[in-house]
Symmetry: C2
Subunit: 393 residues, 2 copies
């Protein structure tokens, strides 16, 4: 049922690297790529209204089939006229299949070729899902791009375990493809294969031979070293067709986005920019700034003086520091507006520099100026986050 309604149009490729500019044509607007999708798992990008997302320049958001299936339930959203209407969001939506959540967030009971049995992380209730059901759910939700169900191994699983998960992911992708009824949604398959180049190659080859509207790279940025992530992206992209969009799942720090773009990625999503915002970490061109730091307590300038977002246009760093200090709800919102604006501006800059041929020098200048969170801190933060998710079960 792959179709041209939600097609991808490649506009330009950087002569010096694999970076490229294109557009996704959806029934909810044309989405210029490279694009970053803010995460709205539960049908809301945390703290923001659809109007604010639009003002920031966000063309597409991600929502999660797993979360929406548990709450409020797929049938409720269908009854309300679909996910766009439910969320009040006129832009495009991509729904994740929920595979990653079932394997990371839920209590897993049984995985078989047929499907997955899991217990809800909210109330412990038991649920059975299959590739066919996941497509049925995503058709009911009505997103513009929908994802095949995949099995997600842990980043340190053995070759054999990762291989088994990969084969199952391929079978499930084919079943998803066959069960698709609607012709106005683009179905993307998810390349798995862990940190094993040979498996990544097998996965890319198998899925591209089936022919999907787009290809995601799953199972990365889940705890493996960054060097390995980048290497796996390169291995995989090399085997994906030029004329289809490539989506790197769960990647969203500014430095990782730029490196992903340089390796030929078109679509990114991550909860990172919004999650760290709520912890008080604000992006600047020099790196993340922690607004809770006392150096901001009396700073009259905004935290990022060059920024044109509502937060930086309107409030001093001192005010934002005060809101965080008092745990005022407005704090989380203003920080989220800033971080998403930063990423939105970054995507704009990426597109324009690819188009005018200066992307490589922009990439260099960015990486010279931007001091990313160091690898050790990054991995320990990631670990704490993964553990806190497990504890919340």
């Amino acid at each position: 049922m792959a179709n041209n309604l939600n097609g991808f149009h490649l506009i330009q490729t950087c002569p010096d690297c694999k970076a490229r500019v294109g557009e996704l044509r959806t029934s909810h607007g044309t989405v210029p790529t490279p694009v970053f999708l803010p995460v709205g798992s539960q049908g809301t990008v945390k703290t923001l209204t659809p109007v604010e997302l639009k003002d920031i320049g966000i063309p597409m958001v991600l929502a999660n089939t797993y979360h929406l299936y548990l709450r409020p339930g797929i049938s409720v959203i269908e009854k309300m006229g679909g996910l766009h209407k439910f969320m009040g969001w006129g832009g495009a939506i991509l729904t994740d299949s929920g595979g990653y959540q079932v394997f990371s967030l839920a209590r897993l009971c049984q995985v078989s070729d047929e499907g997955v049995v899991f217990r809800s992380h909210i109330d412990g209730s038991e649920h059975h899902i299959t590739p066919e059901l996941i497509i049925q759910f995503q058709e009911a939700l009505g997103a513009d791009i929908i994802m095949a169900l995949d099995e997600c191994p842990a980043h340190d699983d053995s070759f054999e375990k990762v291989q088994r998960a990969m084969h199952r992911t391929h079978q499930w992708a084919e079943r998803c493809q066959k069960s698709q009824q609607r012709d106005d949604q683009a179905l993307y398959a998810i390349v798995q294969g862990g940190v094993f180049p040979e498996l990544r190659r097998q996965s890319a080859e198998c899925l591209t031979s089936l022919g999907f509207s787009g290809y995601a790279i799953g199972g990365l940025s889940i705890g493996e070293p960054k060097k390995v992530t980048l290497n796996m992206i390169e291995e995989t992209v090399a085997l994906l067709p030029e004329d289809k969009p490539r989506y790197l799942m769960g990647v969203g720090s500014p430095e990782d986005i730029i490196e992903g773009v340089a390796r030929g990625i078109d679509i990114f999503d991550s909860a990172l920019p919004t999650r760290v915002a709520r912890n008080g970490a604000l992006f600047t061109l020099e790196g993340r700034r922690n607004i809770r730091n006392s150096i901001y307590a009396q700073m009259e300038q905004p935290v990022d003086p060059g920024c044109k977002c509502y937060t930086c246009r309107t409030f001093s760093a001192a005010y934002l520091h005060h809101l965080f200090d008092c745990e005022e709800l407005l704090a989380y919102r203003l920080a989220t507006i800033h971080n998403l604006s930063f990423i939105s501006n970054l995507m704009q800059k990426i597109k324009s520099t690819i188009q005018n041929g200066t992307f490589p020098s922009f990439r260099d200048a960015f990486s010279t100026g931007y001091k990313p969170t160091d690898e050790k801190t990054r991995l320990s933060q990631k670990q704490r986050w993964l553990e806190s998710r497990k504890r919340s079960q």
Copy 2:
């Protein structure tokens, strides 16, 4: 130092009751009365931006000297150019003196004629305040209307205790008046006297003889029966001058506002509309609706179909129910927008019906349609809230 810059202009009085329409002229706009001030104790009306407050039609907000003194500190706000600039709020501001918070929220150490020694509810640090300091703080904050320091007895204190507090409130009001340096802020005194008509009369007479820009009625709606509240308002208003604004502190349910207006009140403030919003209670013309109730889980209409606020224009009751169910931060914000819009519309309706002579019938129609929270529930809710505030020390 009372002046005409922040003057009150009485426009019209209802021929059938004491309701009246007027306006407060401030250096941050003309504020039509009767007016309701949303509470932004810490320099933010919880969850909302200044732009949203303006869009809702809010002309003036309340901030709290006690909270701002503790965090971020008066000198920080002064350094940032004053409270309006700090908050990014171009409308008018009234700062409460903090008397009520010192007596209800802080750990009280010592009250003498000189002033109050208390410990912060946040970190237990000890602080000394005097009427002179409180004026100095409010001049540094730069609100349009500032309040004298008062001593607030509990609603069940003895006649003698309330009388002593009242006399001290009068002495403090006079010292506040004498220490005022700026001539662009209106200083209001606070009538005390608890639930004793004789003391209310003494307090109103004493303070009006000193001559303030406005008169607040304090020490009500703090746990006493509603009938007593209304009776005390009547007793007090009867002795306040016609040409000065009257401010009923801490009152803010729709039904109480209407009854306050009918008794000649011009200004109201209360955290109630915003606080109950965050608990999922939404105002409608029929009474409060609890959006968490399962009857809203699949309701396609907004919770208040007649309402024109952003929340009701954009989202179904089902979506709002879902956000509350998931404890999504957007929930608190959308509910706050609705409740403040409801109160804002109510104030508009009150003004227009006073002006066209139909206020008495509007008041009747409202009280016929609106089912307020019953007295027993209301008092137990209030008690729980007061206790939770004490616990948070």
